[in-house]
């Protein structure tokens, strides 16, 4: 060895970091789910041979308590430096196993999941190929975990103020729950009043208590709560920042009425000459003036000028309201204003819309006045509605003697409507039939339905009451056409139970219209940065386990903006969101996943492309000074509080100075090289 050759290996000792690692590989059968396709025993044997693997074992269910215990024991006994659990998707049990590792004294980020269920055993038929693929997946994760680093959670301060977007029942509930726990809430509603759809309803199933009677006190409570700042006729137009530290921009739309001085006396409303405007609140069944409150119990009960229909705005003349207002509260010069809010967490409770039934041309919605949707029927039946609660035909104001209710008008209809079940229509149609029976003696209701879905506390009893006590006639089948004949609406459908077509002459037809997402839901989701599904309903972080969180940390969901819901469900979800937020607010600092970018300032060239590329403005420009304070060079610097760990900057960085913890260049390199 004096001639110790520079280009010769030296007798026996050679090694590589991979062998130096001590990785434990735990292969889960997941019962038969994995075990039936992937030969787990063979996989364990293969992995046991892999350089750097200290132990490779298989087991029926590693996520079970004994399974987790065995992982912990193996970590302790073998002094493992990393763990790979070959099991289901990391989206299922990554947290479980990371916790187990932490309990065994291993940094939780030294644990990786190899997904051999969702992406292997469940999707491949050939056991040989599946086993081979499982080995590749596991090996690649072993290579990755060898390069994992111990990571510590990042602490960020929390602004203890919640923002609730949407002033329907869900939003009000969430706001009240949070406020009642002593935390500040900003409640933003884009309509001039709180209330949402629930304020429009007549009675509510299954108890038939008056919707407004239970709703309006909640509205008032929210408006008057010292911890709630209410912003109506306002829209959230921008959300920046991150959990605990959102910066929210809200547009206060001009009401043209100074709500500070206005007492809500209503003189302007009565004197407004333009009273022929279709009322949104009454779904077009009533009229309102150009200066108006949506309904009598509006909160705040201050009028607003409908700019599009106001004579002054249209012609530059009128100003009757200005003249009658003794408090000079009318201000035509008012402009939209923007306010900035510092927010710690957000509840999105933006609600739903009813589907536009004109897509059902065969039903004649929009063509025949007496074909209305479920929400319009609510207004008709409501004591505060255009008919003061009397069921009257919109066309001639007569009491209908026969009503046909058509369920699933839009729902569960992939061709013209939506694929999903709107969940509440069966119940409200039964309710409508009951209300009709109570209000119009001898009135005959016929209900075309597909299935009666009445799962809920007291729900099935309720529909049975409609059938049995209130003699609603349920016909299982679809309606194919509605046309007018001799002042009657002729409804042709099929009774599939009898197996024959039926034609019913009705005075009124009520469509149980589908619940759909707000028309601007997708844009709104992009504004605030949350996910949404193909229908425009907002995505929850996990359908079963995290149903109230959005995919973005710190933003929660409540009510029908996530999926069709009835009132109890909406309220429950709102309270759940509130409790999540209260948990978040219970700490001064918040721990975040340490998957954030870091910059090597020594090698950074300071081109600052990353600053532009970062979606979160998380990268700042930083000057490196020498001892005398002179700028030696300028580099990029990542703010770990803002960084969300997308890694866009990393792949932009030409000098390879940026890196992303948890998905480092080294890890991915190893992962690719391990495949």
């Amino acid at each position: 060895m004096p001639q110790c050759p520079m280009h010769r290996s030296i007798s026996s000792f050679i090694l590589k970091d991979c062998i130096m690692a001590k990785i434990g590989v735990f292969i889960c059968h997941c019962g038969e789910n994995i075990g039936a396709k992937v030969d787990c025993t063979k996989l364990a044997a293969t992995m046991g041979e892999h350089p750097g693997v200290a132990i490779a074992v298989d087991y029926k269910y590693f996520c079970s308590d004994p399974g987790q215990e065995s992982v912990k024991r193996a970590i302790r006994e073998n002094n493992l430096t990393g763990v790979v659990v070959a099991a289901c998707s990391p989206r299922m049990h990554e947290a479980t196993f990371r916790k187990a590792c932490a309990e065994a004294g291993l940094n939780p980020y030294m644990c990786e999941i190899a997904n051999i269920r969702e992406q292997c055993s469940w999707v491949h038929n050939d056991p040989v190929m599946a086993t081979e693929k499982a080995a590749d997946i596991t090996r690649s994760m072993v290579e990755k975990v060898k390069r994992n680093n111990n990571l510590q959670p990042i602490e960020v301060p929390v602004t203890r103020r919640a923002l609730v977007i949407g002033g329907g029942i869900a939003g009000i509930q969430a706001a009240l729950d949070i406020a009642n726990a002593g935390q500040e809430v900003v409640l933003v509603e884009r309509e001039p009043t709180l209330g949402g759809h629930m304020a429009q309803l007549s009675e509510t199933f299954p108890t038939l208590d008056c919707s407004q009677c239970i709703m309006t006190p909640r509205m008032v409570e929210a408006a008057q709560h010292p911890k709630i700042r209410l912003l109506t006729y306002a829209e959230v137009v921008g959300v920046d920042g991150y959990i605990g530290n959102f910066h929210v921009k809200v547009k206060m739309k001009a009401r043209y009425v100074d709500t500070e001085s206005c007492t809500g006396c209503g003189d302007c409303i009565t004197k407004c000459p333009n009273k022929k405007i279709s009322s949104e609140f009454d779904c077009g069944l009533g009229k309102r003036p150009a200066i108006y409150t949506p309904f009598a119990q509006s909160v705040p009960n201050k009028p607003i000028i409908d700019k599009a229909n106001c004579t002054y705005f249209k012609n530059g003349k009128c100003k009757v309201c200005v003249k009658v207002c003794q408090l000079n509260s009318i201000n035509f010069e008012m402009q939209d204003e923007f306010i900035d809010l510092e927010i710690g967490a957000i509840v999105v409770a933006t609600g739903f819309q009813v589907q536009d039934n004109s897509v059902y041309g065969e039903y004649g919605y929009g063509k025949y006045k007496d074909i209305i949707n479920g929400l319009q029927f609510e207004r008709l039946a409501s004591a505060s509605g255009p008919t003061s609660g009397k069921i009257l035909r919109p066309s001639d104001g007569k009491e209908p003697e026969t009503i046909v209710f058509i369920q699933c008008a839009g729902s569960r209809d992939p061709s013209k409507g939506v694929r999903y079940c709107s969940k509440i229509c069966c119940m409200y149609t039964a309710k409508h039939a009951m209300l009709y029976a109570h209000k119009v003696h001898g009135g005959k209701s016929n209900i075309f339905y597909m299935d009666i879905r009445a799962a809920g506390k007291g729900y099935d009893e309720f529909t049975r009451r409609a059938i049995e006590d209130d003699e609603a006639s349920y016909l299982r089948g679809r309606v194919s056409k509605v046309w007018e004949e001799n002042g009657k609406l002729m409804v042709r459908g099929v009774d599939t139970l009898l197996g024959k077509p039926v034609v019913i002459a009705a005075d009124m037809v009520v469509l149980a219209t589908a619940m759909v997402s707000q028309p601007d839901a997708k844009d709104f989701a992009k504004t605030i940065g949350i996910g949404y599904d193909e229908y425009g309903f907002f995505n929850e972080a996990h359908l079963k386990l995290r149903p109230v969180e959005s995919s973005t940390a710190g933003i929660f969901l409540a009510g029908a903006c996530q999926s069709p819901k009835d009132i109890p469900d909406s309220v429950a979800q709102a309270s759940a969101s509130a409790s999540k937020i209260l948990a978040l607010f219970s700490k001064e600092k918040l721990e975040r996943e340490p998957v954030v970018a870091t910059n090597n300032e020594a090698t950074c060239a300071g081109c600052w492309g990353c600053v532009l590329a970062c979606p979160y403005n998380a990268i700042d420009k930083k000057d490196i000074l020498d001892r005398s304070g002179k700028v030696i060079k300028r580099v990029a610097s990542v703010n770990p509080g803002l960084c969300q760990g997308c890694g866009t900057c990393v792949s932009f960085c030409r000098s390879n100075s940026l890196d992303l913890a948890g998905f480092t260049e080294k890890q991915i390199f190893a992962e690719v090289m391990g495949l």
């Binding site: 999707v123 997946i137 997708k522 996910g531 995505n539 995919s551 760990g645 998905f663 690719v672 495949l675």
Partner: protein, 149 residues
């Protein structure tokens, strides 16, 4: 070669959309070709062209890159950046003669389990038809053989 050629394909996907889509394909028990090995990344924005080159160096016959549809990025616009990067990188690959049929890009959302399965099948089929990436394999072999001249 008596055995049919089974291509080796490496996929780089974002965890929020395509990886979730792959999970959905799994939960829906959709069957697809087992040739693809997935590398999970937080976002398509994290996918550097180097990954693709290294996958080819590791003998991949094809490479897929997939993430959230435009506008759906969990990180608001990582995929827009990625799209530009891919446009440029594709042109570069094409110009250097790396067949574009071997490097595919797609948007697959978390809801598109079916699309994921179909995509895996179609890509595997396409690349199987193209055969092994011999040209590149030659380069790889060269790194292993001693220089003689």
């Amino acid at each position: 070669m008596s055995e049919p050629f089974e291509p080796k394909i490496v996929a780089f996907v974002c965890t929020y959309c395509t990886y979730a889509g792959a999970d959905l394909a799994g939960t829906s028990r959709l069957k697809y070709a087992p040739n693809v090995r997935i590398v999970r990344l937080p976002c398509t924005g994290r996918i550097s062209p180097m990954f693709i080159l290294k996958a080819l160096q590791k003998g991949a016959d094809g490479v897929l890159v997939s993430g959230c549809h435009p506008g759906d990025c969990h990180f608001t616009h990582g995929n827009y950046h990625a799209r530009r990067r891919w446009t440029v990188f594709r042109a570069l690959l094409e110009f250097t003669g790396i067949p574009l049929e071997r490097v595919k890009f797609s948007w697959i959302s978390a809801a598109e389990g079916g699309k994921f399965a179909d995509f895996m099948n179609s890509v595997t089929e396409d690349i199987r038809k193209l055969g092994p990436f011999d040209q590149y394999q030659r380069l790889i072999n060269e790194t292993e053989a001693p220089a003689t001249l």
